[in-house]
């Protein structure tokens, strides 16, 4: 599926994994941003990635717990950066360009490099 | 008189609950006795390593201790039998250990059919 094709948000997009142009996993489609208004055409403007995007999707107590553990950051991935969608969302760009992979890179600094074959 | 009969009925009900509740520990002790006998038999035949024999005997004793301390009827005939099993030395003859296990099996079968 290409951007521009009609899409079923829940069945074909929400909660799919996201891979950047280098084939690296960089999150899940946690929510979507729509542009338009009631009575007007709705368009997908961005994918929202991060625990902050769970707010509308979880009960209040569950979101509170999530925020305690993982924070409430949200990365906004403009829909124009999506190349195609199948069993995952493939981006045209590297993850860092759209603010993804930042936690992975921070955590990487904690892992010693060495010893692995 | 009626009060005495009521107390007696409660006591009897309480007593008959005890052995039933202890059935799982009797069964466990029976199995442990039989395992101990099997370990000693195979060890006497030179089929086991020293470490294995020692650690298995230790495990049997530890579990027998747990089973014995879990009994609700510590003065019962099966509690005495388990005590006698625990009093056996580590290298007790297999036949002796099996005799305890067989006695416990008889008690177990008797309680199950009651």
């Amino acid at each position: 599926m290409k951007p521009g094709d009609p899409i079923k948000l829940v069945a074909e997009l929400l909660d799919l994994p996201i891979m950047d142009k280098d084939g690296r996993y960089c999150g899940i489609v946690d929510d979507v941003e729509l542009s338009g208004n009631a009575g007007k055409k709705m368009r997908l403007s961005a994918l929202l990635v991060g625990p902050g995007a769970y707010e509308g999707r979880l009960p209040r107590w569950a979101y509170w717990l999530t925020r305690m553990i993982a924070g409430d950051r949200i990365a906004r991935v403009p829909f124009a950066e999506v190349d195609h969608i199948h069993t995952s969302v493939h981006l045209k760009c590297r993850a860092e360009v759209v603010g993804l992979h930042t936690v992975e890179d921070k955590v990487r600094r904690m892992i010693p490099k060495g010893g692995a074959l | 008189m009626q009060r005495l009969l009521l107390i007696a009925a409660v006591l009897v009900a309480g007593c008959s609950k005890g052995p039933e509740a202890d059935l799982q520990y009797i069964s466990k002790a029976r199995s442990l006795g039989a395992e101990w006998a099997l370990v000693n038999e195979q060890s006497n035949a030179g089929k086991l390593t020293g470490n294995y024999t020692r650690t298995m005997r230790e495990a049997v004793r530890e579990q027998l201790k747990t089973a014995s301390s879990s009994l609700t009827q510590p003065n019962s005939n099966y509690a005495r039998e388990i005590g006698a099993l625990m009093a056996e030395p580590d290298d007790a003859p297999p036949a002796q250990l099996r005799a305890h296990a067989d006695k416990l099996k008889q008690i177990e079968d008797g309680l199950e059919s009651a």
Binding site: V10, L14, D15, L16, P17, I18, Y25, C26, G27, I28, D30, V49, Y54, R57, L58, A62, T87, S88, V103, E104, V107, R108, M110, I111, P112, K113, G115, A116, L117 | L23, Q24, S27, K28, R30, S31, L32, A34, E35, A37, L38, V39, Q42, G46, K47, L48, T49, G50, N51, Y52, R54, T55, M56, A59, V60, Q63, A101, D102, K105, E112, S113
Partner: protein, 401 residues
């Protein structure tokens, strides 16, 4: 590792030996039935991985949604963590029998070796090391041949039946063992590990035949080893009134015909099979969490290339060891692992069925009539088993009677 570590773990060792002693050959069919089920679901999960190019947990969240997906993740993570702790405890016990050194020290040593081997070795070598060494479990099958087992009775055990003349208590215990065996054979971590392993090995549609053969042969071999343990127990332990209560007693099945060499082979086989299962459960949890949240994952990458995945599997081992160090009886961990697992199974296998039936993801490789029928049949069986698990556990005091 699919056959041995994925199949013959501490739970199967314990339940196979007990089932054989208590009920003779009557529960062989439970292993056979569970094996068919795990073959069906493994093949499906491997096929989803090869065709959709996504492991099961990635797509599970997409099918279930966030709320139900989080519930499935939490339930399966807890169940798999308890199983991992049981395996670590099992390794500690087996090393204790081998060396005589203290059990808890051996559990710590086991965890250290597992951590080191998973850090250093790439995925292929992790599989080969634990998988091949676990094949020493074949000593149990050799023991069965050497004690001139009644093959007619063993063959009869493959036919589903309930032994006659059982009391009500024994019937309940039989039912409990049936549910426990199905749970132990169909542990959810096996499919998560298997499908993620397929991605690690970069399976594609050309590997579907490999997937089918690996599922059938691997699981069948594991099942035959577990059935050997059961049959040996029926022949040697049942008539001797041995439960068995101590996990180390299973090794006697090989010591009796083959002496101390057989004992050592059995203990080493058990050690590596249980170690393989410890690795699988730990990696399965790390895969599930990483895939659910979209982190980098995989042991085909160096540890620092998938940092959160690395921390996840290290954390899993550390928590599992902490559970063992509380002093909880490893057999209690085994009971809880089996109980929690059966409760989670319907949640695990339903999204897999939905995915494998979805032509949008699977194109021409979608479930055929046989896979669909068997899949839904086994889904029905595990749902019924899940409903019966807790009542049976309580009524039988965990199979003790």
């Amino acid at each position: 590792m699919t056959a041995v570590g994925g199949f013959v773990d501490i739970s199967e060792l314990v339940f196979a030996a007990k089932a054989g002693s208590l009920f003779g050959y009557a529960l062989i069919w439970a292993f056979a039935l569970g094996t068919i089920g795990i073959i069906v679901f493994s093949e499906m999960s491997g096929r989803v991985a090869a065709v959709a190019k996504q492991p099961v947990f990635n797509l599970m969240r997409h099918r279930l949604g966030l709320k139900l997906g989080l519930l499935t993740l939490a339930a399966s993570a807890i169940s798999t963590l308890i199983t991992c702790a049981a395996e670590v405890g099992g390794m500690g016990l087996i090393l204790h029998y081998l060396t005589g050194w203290p059990y808890l020290a051996m559990a710590i040593a086991s965890t250290a070796v597992l951590l080191a081997s998973m850090w250093v070795l790439p995925f292929k070598w992790i599989e080969r090391t634990y998988g091949l060494l676990g094949l020493l479990m074949i000593s149990f099958a050799a023991a069965l041949v050497s004690i001139h087992a009644p093959w007619g009775k063993i063959a009869g055990g493959f036919v589903p039946h309930v032994p006659s003349g059982l009391s009500t208590k024994q019937m309940l215990a039989f039912a409990y063992f049936l549910v426990a065996i199905l749970s132990a054979v169909l542990f959810p971590y096996e499919t998560y590990f298997y499908s993620s392993g397929g991605i690690e090995e970069q399976w594609g549609p050309k590997d579907l035949a490999t997937n089918r053969v690996t599922s059938i042969v691997g699981m069948s071999l594991g099942s035959l080893l577990a059935i050997s343990i059961l049959a040996n127990s029926a022949q040697l332990f049942g008539p001797a009134n041995v439960g068995p209560e101590i996990p180390g007693s299973a090794a006697l099945e090989v010591a009796i015909p083959f002496g101390s060499t057989g004992l050592l082979l059995a203990l080493l086989g058990m050690l590596f099979a249980v170690a393989g299962a410890a690795v699988e459960t730990c990696m399965s949890n790390a895969y599930a969490v990483s895939q659910f949240f979209g982190w980098e994952w995989g042991r085909h990458k160096k540890p620092w290339e998938a940092p959160r995945f690395t921390i996840a599997w290290i954390a899993c081992f550390v928590v599992a060891l902490a559970m063992v160090l509380t002093g909880i009886d490893p057999m209690t961990l085994v009971e809880y692992a089996v109980l929690f697992s059966i409760l989670v199974l319907p949640l695990t296998y339903l999204p897999l069925m939905l995915l494998a039936n979805d032509r949008k993801y699977m194109s021409q490789y979608v479930n055929g009539r046989l896979a669909k029928s068997l899949g839904w049949l086994f889904f029905g069986i595990i749902t019924a088993a899940a409903a019966a698990a807790i009542p049976l556990y309580l009524l039988t005091s965990g199979g003790q009677g």
